[in-house]
């Protein structure tokens, strides 16, 4: 914005007149910007500060802002906890999220590729189905999902969760991959095909690498969605060794125990990696999430 203004003021006198307000503007913007960042980070900062407090200090009223003693050992302690079983839940969540992502991509890649490259009967209907189901959340269909999982005998299994996570993230995957495949000139692929790469070879060696940002975005988004999923895990799994991290974490604060320091130490272990992943794909996300409504 400021650059546009600076470039458009051609007369030197105008530049001189404008320089001072511009600098004030930048200072103000910076202050507001950094304050905004602080506000958005505050709850997570509070998470960190609570996770680092020694146990007795948590029950101090009024609370202290900073830990009197920085208990970094809290982060080590959670790995050996049995109630809730943090390491098991971490592994289970990793497995569920990983498999959901693989399934969504394995199923979504061919569908997205074919709809981007070919015109056929039913293509419009298929894309409409994808567009509509992208707006469906498992929460809204919870009773139906629960009844289905009961009748398929998939409650309390990783497979049940994997199916739900993969299916509900599939529309986003198809949508964003479809957009990427469609943007890659077909001629590039044809050229590889004529060089003897074969249909599949041309797709794997030429198109897929070019669509990599889309693939990575679909991958990361599905993984994070499944990693953070709570409602379905709450509904179709019961506590035990088949517990996702989101399902396990509230178990730190029950009628029998209040271990907020462990709750937040575990939360941070769950949050930090996905935030880092998310930052990498953020700029590719919007077009997929708004179904190309905004480009």
């Amino acid at each position: 914005m400021s650059a546009v203004t600076a470039r458009s003021t051609t007369a030197p006198s105008a530049t001189v007149r404008r320089r001072r307000p511009l600098r004030l503007r930048t200072v103000l913007l910076t202050a507001v910007g950094w304050l905004t960042a602080l506000i958005f980070l505050a709850p997570y900062l509070q998470m960190l500060l609570t996770a680092l407090k020694p146990t007795p200090e948590l029950m101090k009223s009024p609370p202290s802002y900073l830990p009197s003693q920085w208990e970094w050992s809290n982060f080590a302690d959670v790995w050996s906890l049995k109630d809730p079983p943090v390491p098991d839940a971490l592994l289970f969540s990793l497995y569920v999220a990983g498999m959901s992502t693989l399934l969504a991509l394995a199923v979504g890649l061919p569908a997205a590729y074919y709809t981007a490259r070919h015109r056929f009967r039913g293509r419009g209907a298929f894309l409409l189905l994808v567009l509509v189901t992208q707006m469906f959340a498992p929460t809204a269909l919870l009773v139906g999902i629960y009844r289905e999982m009961v009748s398929l005998d998939l409650t309390d299994t990783a497979e049940g969760l994997i199916l739900v996570n993969a299916a509900f993230n599939l529309p986003f995957c198809i949508w964003i991959l479809n957009a990427y495949f469609a943007s890659i000139p077909k001629e590039l692929e044809e050229a590889a095909f004529m060089d003897g790469a074969g249909r599949l070879g041309a797709m794997v060696r030429v198109t897929l690498p070019l669509a990599l940002p889309g693939v990575v975005t679909a991958l990361v988004y599905t993984f994070i969605g499944a990693w953070n999923e709570y409602v379905v895990a709450l509904t179709i799994t019961s506590s035990g060794d088949r517990t996702t991290l989101t399902k396990a974490i509230p178990g730190f604060v029950t009628a029998y125990q209040e271990q907020w320091q462990y709750l937040f130490a575990t939360s941070l272990i769950a949050i930090v990696p996905v935030v880092v992943l998310f930052i990498f794909v953020e700029r590719y996300l919007i077009s997929g999430l708004t179904a190309g409504g905004i480009k």
């Binding site: 905004t36 958005f40 199923v107 959340a137 929460t139 599939l170 989101t246 919007i286």
Partner: protein, 329 residues
């Protein structure tokens, strides 16, 4: 023309008439062999590529929709046994619930309030992120955190921060002098609901701000230049140039937000569980409680069907917006 198009498609290039001719020339040997079997296979080819996706969507997204509607018409015992067809009995039970009017009214306040505030604040946030200042990238990263983090965990932090005795919110408000003794924020329905709405706004802001930011990016610089030459000031430019051009992004952001906020479960579940009683429930948490606390599965399904019908309505509006854009743009 049509015949030629068909042959090239049976040959497996299948991508319209434009590029087919080149391939015909280079793969003359493959053509006749494939045409013979291609007739019937051709119709099945899309199924080969789309089949798995279709199966997954139909089995895991559409089946629950059907199952939900079916369940809402069935008489199901508290232990989950189906005792037969119930007709509209579940709906009658649902609408006779004394708590329902309050829950519906709260849902309305929840959706309208959270979405309105989210959109308003997001407009400002997007404007901020669109300007140049040192550290802008860090600010953008900070904004991503509530988006990427589990909503459940974020809501749990807020519950802890709002704790009567140990929460930092009371500490800050007392240190500043706004409160002279701690307030038990989440114990009183109205206060609890207001805080939960604030948390719902907090977790909805990043996505919305980034959608609007991406909308700002589509506004060409010349438009601003023209407004400047016409002598429009900052406020005037924003109101008569930026806002109208942001309409598409705002509309899409609003619709997606309505759906997300309506379905929002973890915020309420983590902070009050809809309690005390049903005093802070929305139709979404109420539906859950009917099924899994009260064991009234049929009635819960009826609630779910009502919720889902409302969402479908919003989705239809969304389709009109998105599809309309595709056709015109």
């Amino acid at each position: 023309m049509a015949v030629q198009d068909f042959t090239t498609r049976t040959a497996g290039s299948g991508s319209g008439s434009g590029s087919g001719s080149g391939e015909e020339r280079t793969t003359p040997g493959a053509l006749p062999r494939r045409v013979r079997t291609g007739h019937r296979l051709r119709a099945l080819e899309p199924l080969l590529w789309l089949g798995p996706a279709l199966v997954l969507i139909l089995a895991v997204v559409i089946w629950p929709v059907v199952e939900m509607v079916r369940t809402s018409l069935m008489d199901i015992s508290s232990t989950g046994l189906t005792r037969g067809f119930a007709g509209g009995a579940n709906y009658a039970d649902l609408f006779a619930e004394p708590d329902l009017p309050g829950v519906v009214l709260r849902t309305l306040v929840w959706v309208v309030g959270v979405v309105t505030v989210t959109l308003t604040v997001s407009l400002a946030l997007a404007q901020l992120l669109n300007s140049r200042f040192p550290g802008r990238r860090m600010v953008r990263w900070a904004l991503i955190v509530p988006w990427a983090a589990s909503v459940l965990m974020t809501a749990l932090t807020w519950r802890w921060m709002l704790n009567n005795f140990y929460g930092v919110v009371n500490r800050v408000l007392m240190d500043v002098g706004i409160l002279d003794k701690p307030v038990n924020w989440l114990a009183h329905p109205a206060q609890a609901f207001a805080w939960m709405m604030a948390v719902a706004v907090f977790v909805s802001l990043p996505f919305t701000a980034f959608v609007i930011l991406s909308g700002l990016g589509t506004i060409p610089a010349e438009v601003y230049e023209a407004a400047r030459l016409d002598g429009a000031g900052t406020a005037r430019t924003y109101l008569s140039v930026t806002l109208p051009l942001l309409r598409p992004s705002l509309l899409v952001a609003a619709i997606i937000n309505v759906i997300n906020v309506f379905n929002s479960f973890p915020v309420i579940w983590a902070m009050t569980r809809g309690g005390p009683g049903f005093a802070t429930d929305t139709t979404t948490t109420y539906m859950y409680k009917l099924a899994f606390d009260n064991q009234a599965v049929g009635e819960s399904a009826a609630m779910a069907v009502v919720n889902f019908a409302l969402i479908l309505l919003v989705v239809l509006v969304y389709l009109r917006v998105v599809r309309g854009r595709e056709e015109t743009g």
